[in-house]
């Protein structure tokens, strides 16, 4: 059963803030870390720290086993094979690496197309935008309708035989909307383009399967799913993984090197030059185990109830405009809003004083926030450790802020 008291006790940060209750509603920026994740990483540093691979001694064996075991755990979590999971520094690193690999390994001609949704986080958008600029490709956008949902009707006509890459986020980090990625993949498949999915905002909130999404590549960060910062995973479909050249070079990725060139090992190792983030991999795998133990369905049900409550309570305040997926079943626990008469930066400063942690700004999705017609929003994001009290604190603080700036 989902016992919120027990869940909360799993996270040391909620014990640390003694003076006032911490109302942490910023998990979409970075979630909190459960004790088990901290312990697993601590264990590595204290008891078996050493480099992975090629060390024929007990410590290195243990480190290698833990690192590869972490890969297997993460692969299992998203329905991938172990050799299809590359550990990276996070979502941003994943897409940058992938974009350079695409540039080297795909036959991209001037006038070919990249299609992305207007909802994309800059982590997806900018590396692809730069790739388009370098290779003179057309960058086209799937827009949103009046409910800020993807305009699925437009997809069929947007994807052409010149489309080579389609980048789509599984969930918006601004409105929380979960997109029907498999519907889009199905259309893209007919045209033969590659589907790249940003699962960062969705991971740890809903079950994700690369098979169901029918994607060629998918990426996410550890720190938004109870894992540590500085680690992420990039899924590259087995066949594509063999086809792509690495775009980040160094130790640990070669079968042979001569004076002019090198031959590379297979995926995933060829995409992991240099000593990897070993403790990070152990940490993200532990987070996966933790989330699995709590149960993604339970987490989703819990955040759904609170998201519903948040929308309901915020709606009661005059002058608050909500930008969120209102069908909470299709929302990963994110509610963006603006307060009439008060700038988001002033609102979040006010909320911060009441120990309500939220984010204000464009959430690294400028084209989308511009589409919403505002310069910035306040964003409350909900996760497994949140309670109604957190939402009540948010609502009461928003009312106070509004009152103050109205004067």
């Amino acid at each position: 059963m989902f016992d919120i008291k027990k869940i909360k006790a799993d996270f040391p940060i909620f014990k640390a803030s003694k003076e006032a209750t911490l109302h942490y509603l910023d998990s979409a920026a970075s979630s909190q870390t459960p004790e088990c994740v901290i312990s697993a990483m601590d264990e590595y540093y204290r008891n078996f720290r050493s480099n992975v691979h090629r060390g024929a001694y007990a410590l290195s064996e243990k480190a290698s086993e833990s690192y590869e075991g972490a890969r297997a755990t993460v692969a299992g979590f998203v329905g991938a094979n172990q050799n299809e999971i590359v550990f990276t520094a996070g979502a941003t690193a994943s897409v940058n690496m992938l974009a350079y690999s695409f540039e080297q390994s795909l036959d991209l001609k001037e006038g070919d197309e990249i299609v992305v949704s207007i909802m994309e986080h800059h982590a997806m958008l900018l590396p692809l935008q730069e790739l388009a600029r370098r290779k003179k490709l057309n960058l086209k956008y799937i827009n949103v309708d009046e409910n800020y949902r993807l305009d699925y009707k437009s997809v069929e006509s947007l994807i052409t035989e010149r489309t080579k890459i389609v980048g789509i986020t599984l969930a918006s980090n601004v409105t929380g909307a979960i997109n029907d990625v498999s519907y889009i993949s199905q259309i893209v498949r007919k045209m033969g383009a590659l589907v790249v999915v940003d699962a960062t905002a969705a991971m740890g909130h809903i079950p994700v399967s690369v098979k169901e999404l029918d994607c060629d590549a998918m990426f996410f960060s550890g720190h938004k799913m109870c894992g540590p910062t500085g680690i992420g995973a990039l899924y590259i479909n087995g066949e594509l993984g063999e086809k792509l050249n690495p775009s980040f070079f160094g130790g640990g990725i070669v079968t042979d090197v001569d004076l002019e060139k090198a031959e590379f090992v297979s995926a995933p190792e060829k995409f992991e030059a240099g000593t990897p983030n070993i403790s990070g991999a152990i940490g993200i795998a532990e987070a996966v185990k933790y989330l699995t133990e709590v149960g993604l369905e339970n987490i989703k049900k819990h955040t759904e109830e609170l998201t519903s409550y948040t929308i309901e309570k915020l709606k009661e305040i005059d002058g608050v405009k909500i930008f969120a997926e209102q069908d909470v079943e299709k929302n990963v626990g994110i509610v963006s809003f603006t307060v009439e008469g008060a700038h988001p930066h002033d609102v979040i400063e006010f909320l911060g004083r009441d120990n309500v942690a939220v984010r204000g700004g464009h959430h690294c999705a400028l084209p989308f926030v511009k589409t919403l017609g505002v310069p910035a929003t306040v964003r409350a994001s909900i996760y497994l450790y949140n309670t109604k009290e957190d939402i009540d604190a948010l609502v009461s603080s928003v009312k106070k802020a509004q009152e103050f700036f109205k004067k």
Partner: protein, 128 residues
């Protein structure tokens, strides 16, 4: 300390609610733009120099922003009027903190400096 005593002091709120020198300037000598990367707010500064080209005769700002950036723009434009351009060029970004006179946290630095950045952009483009 409460908000009223700290960040949002009465004079800040007064300048925010009723900013001075807000609007366009049709006969500006030069214009500059400041963009806040954290929230997408833009400020445009328009400056008109006098006949000698040495004195700031009129300065206005346009754009939207939070209490800190708008109050800052209001205070800063007041300060600039009548100043010698040579003196304006010597001003460091820290002038914004002095004018606001309230503690600015790390996250609000960009808000506080936005008016200065808009003016600096104009001066750089003017180039004299």
């Amino acid at each position: 300390m409460s908000f009223e005593e700290e960040l949002y002091r009465e004079n800040i709120m007064e300048h925010y609610r009723h900013p001075h020198n807000r609007g366009a300037l049709s006969d500006a000598t030069f214009k500059g733009v400041g963009k806040n990367a954290n929230c997408g707010d833009n400020l445009i500064f328009s400056v008109r120099l006098d006949k000698t080209g040495e004195i700031v005769e009129e300065v206005t700002f346009q754009g939207d922003g939070c209490a800190i950036s708008l109050a800052g723009a209001s205070l800063f434009t007041d300060k600039l009027k009548g100043m010698k351009l040579s003196e304006v060029k010597l001003m460091a970004p820290g002038i914004m903190y002095s004018l606001l006179g309230v503690p600015i946290s790390h996250t609000r630095t960009r808000c506080a400096l936005l008016p200065y950045e808009a003016l600096s952009d104009g001066i750089t483009k003017y180039g004299k």
